[in-house]
């Protein structure tokens, strides 16, 4: 077990090195968890904002995103756009499988910030703390992007050639993609 953890940490180090550009997109890590591609689209008003990120788990233990806090908002909840409605994400939705990932993206799971102290503007960053069932909390500096910002992965999602690849990578664990980092 210890050996495995050690291996995970070593791999994590490699991943961190390989994860170039991770820093400016809100990359943070703790234990086997790595948070990346975090962003907040500049909200319309200070009443409500959304946040997106990807949590990768390169350890052998599954974890769960328990809660999210931020000093900028009174309330941060984990929501899911399901068809045409929004609902609170259940614990199954928040699971981060071993060697898998949890994707919070536009049109799917997202963080919902309510009653913000001020309206975050493009170019600023918002501090967000992610709390997990097992792993220690992770602090993420979430950059505020334009209201219409879409990460590159979402854009490639539109192309029919790559859409099947993208959607399957959401479902299956990233064992194949993490091995490609070695």
């Amino acid at each position: 077990m210890r050996l495995l953890t050690g291996a995970a940490v070593a791999m994590a180090a490699v991943l961190t090195l390989a994860g170039c550009g991770g820093e400016d997109t809100g990359g943070s890590r703790e234990g086997g968890l790595k948070v990346q591609s975090a962003y907040m689209p500049q909200p319309v008003t200070a009443a409500m904002a959304a946040g997106y990120l990807v949590i990768e788990n390169d350890s052998d233990a599954a974890d769960t995103l328990r809660s999210v806090t931020s000093d900028i908002a009174q309330d941060v909840t984990i929501h899911k756009t399901s068809g045409q409605a929004m609902e609170s994400a259940g614990s199954d939705d928040r699971a981060i499988p071993a060697h898998g990932r949890l994707v919070l993206e536009s049109g799917g799971m997202h963080l919902m910030f309510e009653k913000l102290k001020r309206k975050p503007k493009e170019g600023e960053t918002v501090s967000v703390q992610l709390h997990f069932a097992k792993t220690d909390p992770v602090e993420v500096e979430m950059p505020v992007k334009s209201a219409t910002y879409q990460p590159a992965s979402a854009r490639s999602n539109k192309s029919p050639a790559s859409s099947s690849f993208v959607s399957s990578s959401f479902v299956s664990s990233s064992s194949s993609s993490s091995s490609s980092h070695h």
């Binding site: 689209p41 909200p43 009443a47 904002a49 959304a50 045409q84």
Partner: protein, 235 residues
């Protein structure tokens, strides 16, 4: 060489983007017209319609456009707004959503607003002057004219925001193949509302709702298509 089976495959692909009844209607229309052609290769209009879908185009051009909904609602000034009358002969984009929506609703409206701005740099002002962008709330209880006005001010003050009787809104949405349930309140007082799945573009030439955009349509998609939509042409 376009065969009939290709047509139906393509139209199936396109409907994946929009799962509302509208898409099913469009599919039904396509299927019907494909059947009607009975193996004849002269079904060019059908081929034109489904030719949109094999690519990564955001737009779905409807074979059978929607009639404009009969919506008489209240605008952000608190004045009565007759949708058919006000948008008569004008290129019009309509979206159904609500302001307490962090994810899809502001993104959709911002995409259109930014696209409009980009297009305004290239086209003469007069060409864009007729464009009507209309946001109809699905949560009229919380989205008062004032609340709607404040929210839209943060996106684009030129957008027409409409609120009013939920049943009227629901019925209007239904004629566009958009099904919306009334907002529900859970035991903690949290309200859950629904938003439409698509933006509908109405032609200035026919007043028909002839193009659909799903939630994955980007600024670039709208910016690319707007000049055509302004003229009632197929994007």
């Amino acid at each position: 060489m376009r065969t009939k089976s290709m047509n139906s495959t393509n139209s199936m692909n396109s409907t994946k983007k929009t799962y509302a009844a509208a898409a099913l209607l469009a599919l039904a229309a396509l299927t019907l017209s494909a059947c009607g052609s009975s193996g004849d290769d002269a079904n060019a209009p059908v081929a034109d319609v489904s030719a949109e879908s094999g690519t990564d185009k955001a737009a779905t051009v409807l074979d059978k456009p929607f009639e404009k909904p009969d919506l008489v609602l209240t605008d952000t000034q608190g004045k009565s707004y007759d949708f058919r009358k006000e948008t008569d002969g004008k290129p019009t984009l309509v979206y159904f959503g609500y302001t307490n929506c962090p994810d899809v609703c502001p993104l959709t409206m911002s995409n259109i607003a930014v696209a409009e701005k980009e297009v305004s740099k290239k086209l003469p002002k007069s060409e864009l002057a007729d464009l009507r962008v209309v946001f109809v709330t699905t949560d009229p209880e919380r989205d008062t004219p004032k609340a709607l006005g404040e929210w839209l001010k943060g996106i684009d003050p030129d957008v027409v925001g409409l609120t009013g009787d939920f049943d009227t809104i629901q019925a209007g949405a239904r004629t566009l193949g958009i099904s919306i349930d009334p907002p529900t309140k859970d035991k903690n007082g949290k309200v859950t509302s629904m938003h439409g799945t698509q933006v509908i573009a109405f032609s200035p030439k026919t007043d028909g709702g002839y193009v659909l955009y799903g939630e994955d349509a980007t600024v670039e998609d709208y910016a690319k298509d707007l000049p055509k939509l302004l003229k009632g042409e197929n994007p």
